[in-house]
């Protein structure tokens, strides 16, 4: 391939979604083209970052309880108005529609409550232990545990292939060694 592959082809290649023939040609090209290789790497990193991004989980139980409480308040307020108005106009069809809508909303909140999809994602993604400038971070799904260097001091970091990273720093005349283990 004498010309550079298109940006779209490189993106598909980085994501493993290029066709067999396209993959062959792009693969052959990027092996010899530093510029395209860099672009493929950038797409790959971006894809990984996007894969890791997850919206924060909502506390559906709490949301449902809040909604139920609000509905009670709404019903009681509606009752007060209804009693006052009943003497003048009798039964109101609008109120019935409002209450039916609210009940529908409560039902929907219960249906949306299940956290199961998040659990599945967490189990699929593996834990990653990483040394960063500020400390040692263990990430798993949308949870993370970080042992920080005290006051952000620079630390010497070493890794054991057995599954741990160690960060060591001197602060106030004493040595502190943080260790995080990947189990």
């Amino acid at each position: 391939m004498k010309t550079h592959p298109s940006e779209a082809d490189l993106a598909l290649f980085a994501g493993g979604e290029a066709g067999r023939l396209s993959r062959f040609f792009v693969n052959r090209h990027v092996r010899e083209c530093r510029e395209c290789m860099d672009q493929v790497n950038q797409f790959e990193l971006l894809r990984l970052e996007l894969r890791e991004f997850e919206p924060p989980p909502h506390d559906w139980n709490r949301l449902a309880a809040e909604m139920r409480a609000n509905i009670h308040v709404g019903l009681e307020a509606g009752e007060c108005v209804r009693l006052a108005a009943a003497e003048q106009r009798g039964w109101s069809p609008k109120l019935a529609v409002a209450l039916a809508s609210l009940l529908l909303l409560v039902g929907a909140s219960f249906l949306l409550k299940s956290p199961a999809p998040n659990v599945a994602v967490e189990q699929k993604a593996g834990a990653v232990l990483e040394s960063t400038g500020s400390g040692l971070e263990l990430r798993h799904g949308n949870s993370s545990l970080t042992l920080l260097n005290h006051d952000g001091v620079a630390a010497d970091q070493t890794v054991s292939a057995q599954g741990e990273i160690r960060a060591r720093y001197v602060d106030g005349g004493a040595v502190t060694i943080n260790n995080v283990y990947l189990e």
Binding site: P56, E66, V73, G78, G141, S143, L145, S160, A174, E183
Partner: protein, 385 residues
């Protein structure tokens, strides 16, 4: 306003506060500190500093900056302590530790251990303290040990103390042989080595590719098996025989090394230092590869090999470091009787290791004393031992 409108307004007003709410929690109640009843250390105080805990959009964010003040309530001098840090129900059972090596705390004296943790987790898993701090071990001046040792902290602290004794003896020898000026020159060299030592950032995962790999999925064929070269230290009781790892770009998978016990004693633990060379020929200390597992007992003359199922990804200043070569050397050996071997200063000096390896915690501490308090303070410190 009609009943319809009032009901909707009430519903809307009631629902708004639950969206994007941040609740401030009590950080002190988020931590539980446990010391065994017969512990030689007593907890005197816990300073929570500017610790914060909050509930943000269904996620608990805990920022702990604690200083634990402990007292040596035993009879022997304390040379090291390790605290086990666990985050409740944190999948997949991740845990950490904070250690204070190279201390010298007489009976009845106090010392402080800083614990700085950030924990982020979904709120639905909450219940009870989020973080637990327990004593994993205490090392005394006679190298005896107290504690549950769940993290093998006895071994780690014994290695640190042995290196500390080696380096104190070396610098005392320099002081005697070359005087204050010679010691000052050694310290300046040590500080320069620490500043110049190239460092790598590492991401580590099990069973698969590490996050942030530069290897595109379509170029998996670019992987190859690379053999370790070995730097043989003449005094090492164990020698590496052969070793390799799967290399792809900046990733190394499942590094494994075969070793042979050349000493006359059974060996319980071996660690191989691991250096990598990048495309430009720069060498870095990448870390270590275990030559044994915790259940191993390697008799004299026997071979052993361990295959860690980890993937390591190397980077430097945010850029991937592609691996061109690997070198291994024996860095730690523990015998079945609990005695340990570490490379001598001569071993380190006669190879490139002194430049590449991290200094021992004690050398780092002594260099810090020299740079912050001067030569007289360093000489006084060396003379304490």
């Amino acid at each position: 306003m009609s009943i319809w409108n009032r009901a909707l307004l009430l519903l809307a007003l009631g629902t708004l506060p639950v969206m994007g709410q941040e609740t401030v929690l009590d950080p002190a109640s988020s931590v539980k500190i446990d010391l065994p009843e017969n512990s030689p250390l007593a907890l005197i105080s816990t300073n929570m500093g500017d610790s914060r805990a909050s509930n943000r959009g269904g996620t608990i964010v805990l920022d702990l900056h604690m200083a634990l003040t402990l007292r040596n309530s035993g009879a022997r001098r304390v040379r090291g302590v390790t605290l086990l840090i666990t985050a409740q129900e944190f999948a997949p059972g991740g845990k950490g530790s904070v250690a204070r090596p190279c201390i010298d705390v007489p009976s009845g004296e106090q010392f402080t251990v800083p614990v700085d943790i950030r924990l982020v987790r979904p709120v639905q898993q909450a219940g009870g303290p989020l973080v637990r701090v327990q004593l994993d071990g205490v090392l005394f001046d006679d190298l005896s040990f107290f504690g549950p040792n769940r993290l093998n902290s006895q071994r780690a602290m014994t290695f640190w103390e042995t290196e500390a004794q080696r380096d104190r003896a070396y610098f005392k020898h320099v002081l005697q042989a070359r005087g204050d000026k010679g010691l000052g020159e050694e310290m300046l060299q040590s500080i320069a080595r620490q500043a110049e030592r190239p460092q790598l950032n590492v991401a580590l995962s099990r069973n698969g590719r590490a996050t942030g790999s530069i290897v595109p999925q379509g170029v998996a064929a670019g992987e190859h098996v690379a053999q370790f070269a070995f730097l043989k230290l003449p005094t090492a009781p164990v020698q590496p025989v052969e070793g390799w790892a799967e290399i792809a770009g900046n990733e190394a998978r499942s590094p494994q090394i075969e070793i042979v016990n050349q000493s006359g004693k059974p060996v319980r633990y071996v660690e191989i230092g691991w250096m990598v060379k990048d495309k430009e020929g720069h060498e870095y200390l990448a870390g270590s590869v275990p030559g044994s597992n915790s259940a191993m007992l390697l008799p004299a003359g026997q071979h052993s090999r361990l295959l860690p199922d980890t993937t390591l990804k190397f980077s430097r200043t945010g850029k991937p470091v592609e691996i061109q070569g690997m070198t291994g050397f024996v860095s730690q050996v523990e015998f079945a009787d609990g005695k340990v071997w570490v490379p001598s200063r001569e071993d380190l000096k006669s190879s490139a290791l002194l430049r590449i390896m991290a200094p021992s915690p004690e050398e780092q501490r002594l260099a810090d004393i020299y740079s912050k308090r001067g030569l007289a303070a360093l000489v006084a410190e060396l003379n304490r031992y």
